[in-house]
């Protein structure tokens, strides 16, 4: 590819780290490297920096600073929230409710707990990926101790009715956890108003560093520790703090939540132009996820008669980074559990493409993708035996 300009449209996978974030982090590698548990002055600098980041993170969520616990990222936060609440509340009940479209950090944790004697209900979603609050309410039993529903889906971008789901959990006196890894910065979050008891974050999804995340735990929630050891994070999460990472996360979350409506509007405008252009120029294409209730940067589309990995390879050849729900890139032979849960046929799930836009993109990038993508799809369809069979009309061009 040489010195080709890279068009990065995979912000849901990870983001670049903003220069301001890097600048904020650097002194904590070199100068203020002291262990916050020590008592000398350079260690106090570290301690202060963590406190400041905790305040920044709390502010972004409408939480109190002492309800924020720093972790190694989204997976640890999800594991801690679910296992911690499950084991601490075992005497009250053994039933957990989640959805079929959760991230694997939630789904595989729930499957692990099933082996440990817990019962898990995996709520279905509608064709857009939405959880129905009425269905959630019906699933609650006397044994239900935890509900975990993601704020917004990582693949199709659907934003769940979190405040409503949270209110139902509150009404039934059940803890409510949400994985907000994709949502932060795209939609305003207020843990108090939305009845959220636990919330997971990951810094590398919002222009912060990898290896840092947080779990919001509302005061009074009964939860076991996941990491045992030293007394860090008010004895809740052992391990010497990743100071630079935490500082970076604080800076990143402050920046990404400073002007959510303005920032989202800019990303959404680019995304909408991309969606319109793709659906207008490529036949047999369907938008996956909800037409409106979706993350500003998310575009998930299925193209019939072709397979996703071969699309990604051609796009990569043109310097475009994207992802797919096809089985062929997942290391398994099953396509995306999210697309299947929305009722998308398996064969069409194989032809899905996710383009997630963000601050690495410009209108020019949208122009390039609109020029390249139709050619890639046409090239692959030309060699697909399914395209000839189906003819070039009919199909399911749902727009």
């Amino acid at each position: 590819m040489g010195a080709q300009h890279i068009i990065y449209m995979d912000h849901s996978a990870t983001t670049f780290v903003k220069p301001e974030v890097v600048d904020a982090m650097i002194p904590y590698f070199t100068e203020h490297f002291g262990n916050p548990s020590s008592i000398y002055s350079i260690a106090r600098e570290s301690k202060k920096a963590i406190d400041a980041a905790r305040l920044q993170t709390a502010k972004a969520l409408g939480a109190d600073p002492d309800e924020i616990y720093f972790t190694s990222g989204g997976s640890e936060s999800d594991n801690w929230a679910i296992k911690g609440v499950a084991f601490a509340n075992r005497k009250r009940g053994n039933h957990i409710i989640t959805s079929q479209i959760e991230h694997h950090a939630v789904l595989h944790t729930c499957q692990y707990l099933e082996k440990e004697g817990f019962e898990v209900t995996y709520l279905p979603v509608d064709q857009y990926g939405l959880v129905d609050p009425a269905v959630l309410e019906k699933a609650i039993t006397e044994k239900t101790i935890l509900i975990s529903i993601m704020y917004a889906n990582n693949e199709i971008g659907t934003i769940e009715p979190i405040a409503e789901l949270g209110a139902i959990a509150r009404k039934h006196n059940v803890y409510f956890h949400t994985d907000a890894v994709q949502a932060i910065g795209s939609v305003p979050i207020d843990v108090k108003a939305q009845n959220i008891d636990l919330l997971s974050l990951s810094a590398h999804k919002f222009y912060g560093p990898k290896g840092t995340g947080a779990l919001y735990i509302k005061k009074g929630v009964r939860i076991d520790n996941l990491m045992h050891g030293g007394g860090q994070e008010r004895r809740r999460r052992a391990g010497t703090e990743n100071i630079a990472g935490i500082v970076g996360m604080g800076k990143a979350i402050e920046m990404v939540t400073a002007d959510i409506p303005g920032h989202s509007a800019k990303i959404r405008a680019m995304r909408d132009r991309l969606v319109k252009g793709v659906l207008a120029t490529i036949s047999h294409a369907r938008l996956n996820g909800h037409p409106e209730k979706r993350l500003a940067g998310n575009f998930n589309v299925s193209f019939e008669f072709i397979e996703g990995e071969s699309m990604l390879l051609w796009l990569d050849d043109e310097g475009i980074c994207a992802s797919t729900g096809s089985a062929c890139t997942s290391g398994s032979l099953e396509p995306s559990h999210v697309l299947l849960a929305t009722g998308l046929p398996v064969e069409i799930s194989h032809g899905s493409l996710r383009l997630s836009l963000g601050d690495a993109n410009s209108e020019k990038d949208v122009d390039v993708v609109l020029e390249v993508l139709p050619k890639v799809v046409a090239k692959l369809r030309d060699m697909s035996p399914l395209y000839v069979k189906s003819g070039k009309e009919g199909g399911c061009n749902v727009q």
Binding site: E307, G308, S310, L313, S326, L333, E347, S384, P385
Partner: protein, 143 residues
């Protein structure tokens, strides 16, 4: 994750297309599993004089189809029958383990096209010596 050879055959696939009035056609795979290969053979005096393919699938599936059609061109039917999935994978300088089923599909596609020709000629179809469905159970789509 792919070898240069796989990428070459993916980006510049040889023998894409259909053969009109092909002497043997073999279609294998399933759209639900994410790959379908259709192999077309032109056969004269027991020799494969032309081979083409159409494939729905991942990079490895397209490269395997391209390489398999290259390998059987000019071969007698007996020789072509002996072109194994390992031979296809080796010619591609290797495939990732999870993608080996793509080379299996290519071998099966060639076999099916050869047997299609034999049946049309009123001959007994040849029997698969090593049915792959057992060997590759863990890598075969269950749909």
């Amino acid at each position: 994750m792919y070898s240069d050879k796989v990428m070459d055959h993916f980006k510049n696939p040889r023998n894409v297309g259909e053969i009109e009035n092909a002497d043997g056609i073999g279609e294998v795979g399933n759209p639900v599993c994410g790959d379908i290969m259709k192999i077309f053979l032109k056969i004269e005096n027991n020799v494969i004089t032309d081979a083409k393919f159409k494939t729905f699938g991942c990079g490895a599936a397209i490269a395997s189809s391209s390489m398999a059609t290259e390998l059987v061109r000019g071969k007698t039917l007996e020789e072509a029958w002996e072109v194994s999935n390992q031979a296809v994978a080796e010619a591609l300088e290797g495939l990732p383990p999870i993608k080996m089923h793509c080379s299996v599909l290519a071998e099966e596609g060639i076999h099916k096209a050869i047997n299609d020709y034999r049946v049309k000629k009123g001959l007994e179809p040849w029997v698969e010596k090593n049915p792959h469905s057992h060997e590759h159970e863990d890598m075969t789509c269950q749909h």
